[in-house]
């Protein structure tokens, strides 16, 4: 163990952050977690709620799996990871219900959904089982941040087009201090049902994915243009 650790190059925190939030984003790049994503992003507030809860579980499961990776064999790793994640989610659900009851009333709906989030199993499998504890926790945090970003973005798009508001009822989630976030962008809007229902989620997600590809493509063209003269000189 000691040998491998001295040999591993020091953790590239910047790389992990960029992977989690953009390059290897749970939704944009891996297309994981679509089921809870489409189910709850009718409003930006709901998206934020699921994002925060998922981030917490991602960090915790990253830490646990990384701590235990020494004794888990590849053959039984999947059921063991599933057990760890399901136990964590259930404990979070129970604890929140008991001690953060008001928050649980808003988020409670989403917490069981986290178990269906294959991104958490995916990160346990592809990162936490191969990396150190700190790096795994940080990876969970960044993956969660990236996931939350997409959830809030998608929720915002669907909420604006679907009901003409933004961050409606955010104060139910974050407390009375955030009333300023609750905007009615289109007064007397009669709503556009399709965007609130799951098909609207797919449509909005499609546009967001296309937008991300477009940005990435533009950036890689720019990089190539910048690299070309250098190569010619060399």
């Amino acid at each position: 163990m000691s040998k491998t650790e001295t040999e591993t190059p020091k953790t590239d925190w910047g790389r992990i952050a960029k992977d989690g939030t953009w390059d290897n984003n749970v939704v944009f790049a891996q297309s994981l977690a679509l089921c809870p994503l489409l189910a709850v992003t009718g409003t930006a507030t709901n998206g934020l709620g699921l994002g925060l809860a998922s981030t917490f579980v991602l960090v915790m499961s990253g830490l646990m799996v990384s701590l235990l990776r020494g004794i888990i064999t590849p053959e039984v790793r999947i059921p063991v990871f599933v057990l760890i994640i399901a136990t964590l989610v259930t404990l979070v659900d129970l604890g929140m219900n008991a001690w953060m009851h008001d928050l649980h009333k808003v988020l409670g709906l989403f917490i069981p959904l986290i178990v269906t989030n294959c991104a958490i199993l995916g990160r346990a499998e592809s990162f936490a089982s191969r990396n150190g504890v700190m790096a795994s926790g940080f990876d969970g945090l960044m993956m969660g941040a990236g996931f939350t970003m997409v959830l809030v973005g998608l929720g915002a798009v669907r909420e604006i087009i679907g009901s003409g508001t933004l961050f409606a009822d955010a104060s139910m989630l974050l407390g009375e201090g955030v009333h300023f976030l609750e905007l009615t962008l289109i007064p007397d809007y009669r709503g556009f049902l399709l965007m609130i229902l799951p098909p609207g989620g797919f449509i909005a997600l499609g546009f967001l994915l296309a937008g991300k590809r477009l940005l990435d493509a533009r950036q890689s063209t720019r990089m190539r243009l910048r690299a070309a003269p250098a190569a010619a000189e060399g």
């Binding site: 604890g95 049902l193 609130i196």
Partner: protein, 221 residues
């Protein structure tokens, strides 16, 4: 420890199954501990929630009793009450029943809608509140008091006000508003409230009988 990823003993079936069984055992133990640690707190929170809802449908000045303590059970006969029996919460003034409250259930667009219904002894609705539902956010959830005042339109209504035929949403010729984009949800709530009133009417005597027999003598003084 060595850098070898998999020492031989780990490849044995015994280690594998022991590992998996061990994890299952630890997970089960953790869940049991979590349940024990949180059970009382959760029950307490839920009782608080129920009491808070009850206080919204049973006005403070109508009762001087502990709403959660003086309940009676009514066999579930109507379609609008959950299976088994329905718990009726009674508002008492001294020993006289001034109002009752119980759960009614309507079939909404996306599953059952649980409505807590408060009815005065005169058969008028004191208040109705949606306790739980799975309706479309942004459309059907206007039945929640936190989002819309619609649910207040039942206040003061009784079985003959409006006439039975008008106990429906506007689309069906009734007097209650529906929401744009959602008719099934308000229709279900209207039906549930009407069913609750009918249940009250059918059991009026049992529900409004003086609480002498069921209340402990300690309350007398």
């Amino acid at each position: 420890m060595s850098t070898v990823a998999n020492p031989t003993y780990r490849r044995r079936v015994g280690y594998q199954s022991g590992l998996l069984g061990g994890f299952a055992l630890v997970a089960a133990a953790l869940l049991v501990m979590g349940d024990i640690a949180t059970r009382d707190a959760i029950a307490e929170r839920e009782a608080e929630d129920l009491l808070a809802s009850l206080q919204q449908v049973l006005p403070e000045d109508l009762h001087d009793n502990d709403l959660l303590a003086n309940t009676i059970q009514l066999p579930a006969t109507a379609a609008v009450v959950p299976e088994g029996s329905v718990t009726v919460y009674r508002a008492l003034q001294g020993l006289d029943v001034t109002a009752v409250a119980f759960d009614v259930t309507g079939q909404g667009y996306a599953g059952p809608i649980h409505v807590l219904l408060g009815i005065g002894v005169d058969g008028r609705v004191l208040g109705a509140r949606v306790l739980a539902h799975a309706e479309t956010p942004g459309l059907g959830d206007k039945i929640e008091i936190g989002r819309d005042d619609w649910i207040l339109s039942f206040d003061g209504r009784s079985l003959d006000d409006p006439q039975p035929a008008r106990w429906a949403v506007e689309k069906d010729g009734g007097i209650f508003d529906q929401f744009s984009g959602a008719t099934i949800t308000p229709r279900a709530v209207v039906r549930a409230v009407k069913g609750g009133l009918e249940l009250f009417e059918a059991n009026r005597d049992a529900l409004t009988a003086s609480a002498v027999l069921t209340t402990d003598a300690a309350r007398e003084d």
